[in-house]
Amino acid sequence: MSESNGYAVRTAGVWKIFQQEAEEVQAVRDVSLTIGRGEFTALAGPSGSGKTTLLNLIGGLTRPTRGEIWVAGSELGALSNRELAQLRLEQVGFVFQAYNLLPVLTALENAEFPMLLQGVPAAERSERIRELFDRTGMTGLEDRRPGKLSGGQQQRVAVVRAVASQPALVLADEPTANLDSHASEALLDMMAELNRELGVTFVFATHDGHVMERSRRLVRMVDGAIDSDETRS
């Protein structure tokens, strides 16, 4: 557990190989990466370079073919499926490209869903949601169903949902890809603020130049492997 202090996630020699009929696809090749707490990191790279696969591995949605992944001090390979689900609940927040809210729940219920699963008391839940909705300009939209929200508003709810449960890191796969430039700029502002003021760790997979510009660390992937890794001051 001592390793958990410095970083949110660490991968060591991680491979993910898909068997496509006779062919094998090396989606992630020998990736060793450490992301510290409070980082604001973008994974960039051409389509098919393995960004989504790497995020899914880190989030415990798939298991690596080889290598080890630590999230908040736990080595994922040592966890059962059930423990992995629990780790996602406690330590990982997800934001996907689109349509990742539960359609039968209101904005507020969606946002507090992970806290409900975590068993956070109602008073604390509504306190955290109120604060986050306030920060993200979502106040007043609490009772809307996702179908009645714009794409940008839906992504804000998804970000609030990912952040509210206070995970070790938030994984966001192309969060701005479905938004116009104005909405995506606003979403980025919001995430940058959460990162700056609350210390939330964000890892993005993105094609979006804006996202790359705004990130403080940019990891470029090519053909499943890390091609470059630069941190700006």
């Binding site: 989504t52 696969t53 899914n56 989030g59 949605l61 798939t62 736990s74 499926n81 059930r82 423990e83 689900a85 629990q86 780790l87 996602r88 609940l89 406690e90 330590q91 997800f94 996907f96 490209q97 689109a98 349509y99 990742n100 809210l101 539960l102 359609p103 039968v104 729940l105 869903f113 992970p114 409900l116 699963l117 068993g119 949902r161 796969d173 192309e174 890809a177």
Partner: protein, 432 residues
């Protein structure tokens, strides 16, 4: 990490209810088929049970009684050597006067059944001669109402006979005709008895009309030299559901004659195996037809739930990304299916029972038999009153509940398993 992950029962229940509400039309459609199916299954069972009760009732009136007491060999031999001493009748009467007999037993009848010949100037015919108590028999057996000429036997008749129309034709008899009944007496010698026709009946059942003759039991006893002994004692109860209880009761009360090998007690099922087999068969045919109907309903549920599961892959992916295990994701779908099937099972069966209760005065099915002008309907050799009173047999209702819940669970289980085995990363791909 927390030590014990919770089962998230409340959250799963909430999601299930929300999903059922979201697809209200589909939910109502599925629910309706389940409710109607359940109501149909329940009502047709109680109606069938009512029909069977009728058949049993009229069958045992002319036959063994709901509970039969006989000498051990009589069932097979059909001879008067295998008869009950007159004292047995007193024992049975005493037994039914004590609980639980007192509440359930409606009548006790007794008969002397003899196989013999009926002869007239014209010829001779084999006959089934029943020595009966005219008063009891008139109250109990439907035979006295099927008189076509003359009258039924009366209490002070001595040499009177009530004869089936077929036999009357064959022997060229009419009211007032004399005929001689012949049978072996207790000394194995053929004894004859002269009687006079006082009434003629027609049941429509050839077997009965061509062979049955009723005479007063006192006359028969003297004729065959057996005093007040009888071959059959029949006990009638208010519902055939009470038969096992009364069989046990009489078994205890008649323990001594049973131990001496003088008597046996049996339910109508054993005493009238043909009737019993027919009813069991009919019951199974009913179950089978409705069972098939229900399995079809089950498949339509699997189909609708499965369709919805196929459209919700992304949602299940999100649930798992948020920290539900595959099994918990399955249980969202399972609980959805169970909520509606369990609730609808109880509503359906309740509805069926309500219809049953509403028809507790009886349902007249004589219309089904078209222009038949007789007051009773013959179903496989038994005449049945066309007014059917549905009967609620708790065991059967529990079986229906169990069966419906089983179909509900099974038809929810498969889609649920599918929901739990989706590939999460596939389901989250944006193109989908």
């Amino acid at each position: 990490m927390r030590a014990r992950p919770s089962l998230h029962v409340g959250v799963i229940l909430m999601l299930a209810v929300r999903n059922l509400r979201r697809n209200l039309r589909r939910t109502i459609l599925t629910a309706t088929s389940f409710v109607i199916g359940g109501a149909l299954l329940t009502f047709s069972q109680t109606f069938d049970a009512g029909t069977h009760e009728q058949m049993v009732d009229s069958g045992v009136r002319t036959g063994s009684g709901h509970v039969a007491v006989e000498a051990p060999g009589f069932r097979v031999s059909r001879r008067i050597e295998d008869r009950l001493p007159g004292s047995t009748l007193q024992l049975v009467r005493a037994a039914v006067a004590s609980p639980p007999g007192a509440e359930r037993v409606t009548d006790v009848f007794y008969r002397l059944t003899v196989h013999g010949l009926a002869t007239s100037a014209t010829g001779a015919r084999p006959a089934q001669i029943l020595g009966v108590d005219p008063t009891i028999e008139a109250a109990l057996s439907p035979l006295d109402e099927q008189v076509v000429e003359g009258r039924y036997l009366e209490a002070d008749d001595r040499l009177a006979a009530y004869v089936g129309a077929g036999l009357v034709d064959a022997l060229d008899l009419r009211i007032g005709s004399r005929l001689v009944l012949m049978a072996q007496d207790t000394h194995k010698e053929v004894a004859g008895q002269l009687v006079r026709v006082v009434g003629i009946f027609r049941t429509g059942i050839g077997e009965l009309d061509e062979s049955v003759i009723h005479v007063p039991i006192a006359t028969a006893g003297e004729w065959l030299g057996i005093g007040d002994d009888v071959t059959n004692i029949g006990v009638m109860v208010d519902s055939s559901l009470a038969v096992p209880e009364i069989v046990r009761h009489l078994g205890r009360e008649l323990a001594e004659p049973i131990a001496r090998g003088e008597a046996v007690v049996m339910g109508w099922q054993e005493a009238m195996p043909a009737l019993y087999t027919m009813i069991v068969f009919d019951e199974w045919v009913g179950f089978l037809v409705l069972g098939i109907l229900f399995v079809i309903i089950g498949f339509s549920i699997i189909n609708t739930v499965l369709m919805s599961v196929l459209h919700r892959h992304r949602e299940f992916g999100v649930l798992q990304a948020l920290g539900l295990t595959p099994r918990q994701t399955s249980s969202v779908v399972l609980v959805e299916g169970l909520l509606q099937t369990v609730v609808c099972t109880f509503i359906g069966v309740g509805l069926g029972l309500a219809v049953t209760a509403a028809l507790s005065d009886g349902l007249d099915i004589s219309g089904l038999y078209g222009s038949m002008d007789i007051g009773e309907v013959e179903i496989v050799g038994v005449t049945v009153d066309p007014v059917i009173v549905p009967v609620v047999n708790p065991v059967r209702i529990l079986q229906i509940l169990g069966f419906m819940l089983f179909v509900g669970v099974v038809s929810s289980l498969y889609p649920a398993l599918r929901a739990g085995t989706i590939d999460v990363t596939e389901s989250m791909k944006f193109e989908r």
